[in-house]
């Protein structure tokens, strides 16, 4: 077991290393931040630019810059933003909770919607309700999320003035972004719940439960749901990673002060330290979740361990 854990852990470290070095290297090919900062200035000489590069630490070789970044990471010092010199750790401390809380809220919306709908579709397999749910989920899958977001804003913020169109001020701010992400996720999740449920419903213990005269709700939600929970939880866990990626667009539409907004601005402004830090945090999160799932699998299923 220890060998398996070490192997998986080393793999995860390797992935994070490859991701960070690729991103750090690639963004340095795309333009000089010193030129970005002085855009709009008239009289900029090469000496001025050199001065600024030195202040930003860009005059050092790439590998030196990269290893300084890695070294700083272990002390939670991600350097300073090129734009205004704000410490990056401070920006992350603000953005990470914003993104995570939105991601959790979206997951909750999706779970609340997809479980009852999926179960309904499974129970009514082949009937009207099933067809409607499946068509709706197909429609949901085909929505671009920014379109849905814009429509919600138009309806709920501008026409009815019920919810704030953007920002993260209070609970009301969460409703539209979480609903948008949640609805998109639900489209896939419903199908998943339906499939898992269909399999479970054919088991003999369900027949036994029904034979005992238990009510249909108890059979479905207590006996059946519990038994198909394991694959569902695994899947939702993995989905969380993908969700973090998809949230970038939604953050922009709703002006959410999260990692996506941070990354978006950093790319535009050639703010290397911020972009490196955001990508590292995102890859750590995704790799970390995958690692946990791997470990959980290994614990449950001895065959994976010995592979």
């Amino acid at each position: 077991m220890a060998g398996f854990l070490i192997k998986r852990f080393l793999q995860a470290v390797f992935v994070v290393f490859v991701v960070t070095i690729t991103v750090s290297f690639a963004i340095r090919l795309t333009g000089d931040p010193a030129l970005m900062l002085t855009q709009g200035a008239g009289s900029v000489t090469e000496a001025d630019l050199e001065r600024i590069r030195e202040a930003l630490g860009l005059n050092q070789p790439f590998l030196v810059q990269y290893f300084q970044f890695i070294k700083g990471m272990f002390t939670l010092d991600f350097g300073r933003s090129f734009l205004g010199g704000t410490p990056v750790s401070g920006l992350l401390a603000q953005a990470l909770p914003a993104t995570l809380s939105l991601a959790f809220a979206s997951m909750i919306v999706s779970i609340i919607l997809s479980i009852p709908l999926g179960i309904k579709a499974a129970v009514a397999k082949g009937k009207w309700a099933d067809q409607i749910i499946r068509i709706l989920s197909l429609v949901g899958l085909s929505f671009p999320n920014f379109w849905l977001a814009t429509m919600l804003v138009l309806l709920l913020s501008i026409t009815f003035r019920l919810l704030p169109p953007s920002g993260m001020d209070n609970f009301a701010s969460f409703i539209m972004p979480a609903a948008t992400m949640g609805i998109i996720l639900t489209a896939t999740n419903v199908r998943l719940v339906r499939t898992a449920m269909l399999e479970t419903l054919q088991s003999q213990y369900i027949m036994v439960a029904r034979a005992k005269g238990l009510s249909e709700n108890v059979v479905l939600y207590k006996h059946a749901l519990r038994n198909c929970a394991i694959p569902l939880i695994t899947y939702f866990g993995l989905q969380f990673g993908a969700l973090l990626g998809g949230i970038v667009v939604i953050e922009r539409v709703f002006n959410w002060p999260g990692l996506g907004t941070l990354a978006f601005d950093a790319v535009g402004g050639r703010d290397y330290p911020v972009l490196q830090a955001v990508i590292t945090v995102l890859s750590l999160l995704i790799v970390g979740i995958n690692l946990l799932v791997d470990i959980a699998y290994g614990l449950i299923d001895p065959r994976i361990r010995t592979e």
Partner: protein, 510 residues
């Protein structure tokens, strides 16, 4: 059962949240909320060149001189000044009894500290220093008099002292709290003082009762950073934002705002002008006849009226009418496709000759403009292809290294509104924005105006430069774009600033 419960919870949550939102008044008395597209990250004047720094910080800081929306230079923290030693020394008399927001007095020491800091190690880390390179040092004469000693005369310096890096900062406050703290807790002498700042979210200011000039009518001034135009406009429509400042609102959204009875659009000519510049070194555009033909061949007024919804003015040189050096007698070349064809024939250009136009890919409006330009060129027998680049690649690689096609986008304007600010770097031999041309006569004119402080003489030379550039058809001048502000009708007495340097002490809200 769970399904029903879930639904009920959701409805309740929505009702509670909606109630919470409605309970907090969207419009608070005496408070104005502004949407700004970018967070500069630091409020220190030496750190940034971003226009959206100035649209906040002009409320916090003062310069020795002041230039408002009317673009007239008037006294700021200096009450008067005189130019001595052939323009190599400027003596300023300082305003007395002025206090910074933290209570420390403004005096000659503060001025010296500000410029020592800008020209010293702290300023060297940022982009502002290069703009004030003509300053050698500042000498304190007495508590209310300072002398600026210059390396060479700088005719634009008095204007530059009205903004950005020249904003006067408090010496004691910075010494006590340190540079890092100052970046995020700015203190100046302006009509509004700093309250709080949340990176990427917003900055809040409030009225400063000890302001030396006309005190602010608003009690609170809140800025929110919203980069997505449709989101900013949605906030405006929802009544949670009172003003959306440039560069946010694209031309296409103007009708949405105008269609809302509570909102309005106000515009002002901006410093930014758009042109397609020519490769004067290689290819068919080497010939001045061809360059003129291409200008004759494009109906620029039609582009302004249709694509830009009239929110731009035609130009004859690379400057708008607010610019110092603008010559009102210069008229844009008319649209004349017949003449264009004739000139092309004279120059021996075969019908169907290819021309490549390099543009910034992220500017949707300009993309449309260039497509129209390409269609017009097609009519006179030029086969134009458009090549969009990522903005930074175009600005930092393709143009400076002379790797463009026959034409390339230049959209630029300096907040100083002085033609020298752009002309020198576009027309002088060897400058970054001049990869192709080298003209001793042009160089001589550009250099000569830099040494003159006589405004009238300088203006004449700048006008000559503009005329000469047009004679040689160094670019296809397109238009001077307006700065577009979306505003709620509850805002009173707002004057749009052409350079987005907003000072809102006279503004009030219903």
């Amino acid at each position: 059962m769970i399904k029903k419960q879930g639904l009920r919870t959701a409805i309740m949550a929505l009702a509670v949240a909606g109630g919470a939102f409605m309970a907090s008044p969207a419009w608070a008395a005496g408070t104005m909320t502004i949407s700004s597209p970018q967070d500069p990250g630091s409020w220190d004047p030496v750190d940034t060149f971003l226009v959206n720094w100035a649209s906040v910080a002009t409320n916090i800081y003062d310069g020795l001189t002041y230039r408002g929306p009317d673009t007239k230079l008037v006294p700021g923290l200096a009450t008067s000044w005189e130019t001595l030693d052939d323009g190599k020394r400027i003596r300023f008399k300082l305003r007395e009894g002025v206090k910074f927001h933290d209570g420390e007095p403004f005096n000659a020491e503060a001025v010296k500290f500000t410029f020592d800091r800008l020209m010293g190690p702290e300023g060297s880390k940022g982009p502002q220093k290069s703009n004030y390179a003509s300053i050698d040092h500042v000498e304190v004469i007495d508590d209310n008099t300072v002398d600026f000693h210059l390396k060479q005369p700088d005719p634009v310096l008095l204007t530059k002292l009205a903004g950005y890096g020249a904003m006067i900062v408090p010496p004691k406050y910075i010494a006590e709290h340190g540079e890092d703290y100052f970046n995020t807790h700015p203190v100046g002498t302006g009509p509004f003082k700093f309250v709080s700042y949340e990176p990427k979210v917003g900055i809040k200011l409030e009225k400063f009762d000890g302001f030396w000039g006309d005190k602010a009518k608003l009690d609170h001034l809140n800025y929110r950073f919203i980069s997505e135009p449709s989101t900013a406009v949605a906030e405006l429509q929802a009544g949670r934002v009172d003003l959306v400042i440039p560069p946010t609102i694209p031309i296409g959204m103007i009708p949405t705002i105008k269609g809302d009875p509570n909102l309005d659009v106000v515009t002002s000519p901006s410093p930014t002008v758009y042109a397609l510049r020519f490769n004067t070194k290689n290819g068919i555009t080497k010939d001045v006849k061809v360059r003129k033909a291409l200008i004759y061949g494009v109906d620029r007024q039609a582009i302004i009226d249709s694509i830009l919804g009239g929110e731009a003015s035609p130009i004859a040189s690379f400057q708008g009418k607010l610019s110092f050096g603008y010559d009102p007698s210069m008229k844009p070349l008319p649209y004349d496709p017949a003449k264009a064809k004739e000139l092309l024939k004279e120059a021996g250009v075969q019908p169907g000759a290819p021309v490549q136009i390099d543009i910034r890919g992220n500017d949707a409006t300009f993309n449309e403009v260039v497509q129209a330009v390409a269609s017009y060129l097609q009519i006179v027998g030029i086969n134009a292809t458009i090549k969009p680049y990522e903005t930074n690649v175009l600005l930092n690689d393709i143009i400076p290294k002379g790797k463009t096609g026959a034409m390339f986008q230049q959209s630029w304007g300096g907040w100083t509104l002085d033609f020298d600010n752009t002309a020198y770097f576009m027309y002088h031999t060897g400058e970054k924005w001049n990869p192709y041309d080298s003209d001793p006569k042009m160089d001589e004119m550009l250099e000569s105006q830099r040494a003159i402080t006589d405004r009238a003489k300088r203006e004449e030379i700048l006008r000559n430069i503009a005329n000469y550039a047009a004679d040689r058809a160094l670019e296809m001048p397109l238009y001077n774009l307006n700065a577009i502000f979306g505003i709620s009708k509850r805002v009173k007495n707002f004057t749009p600033a052409p350079d987005s340097r907003l000072r809102l002490n006279e503004v009030s809200v219903d």
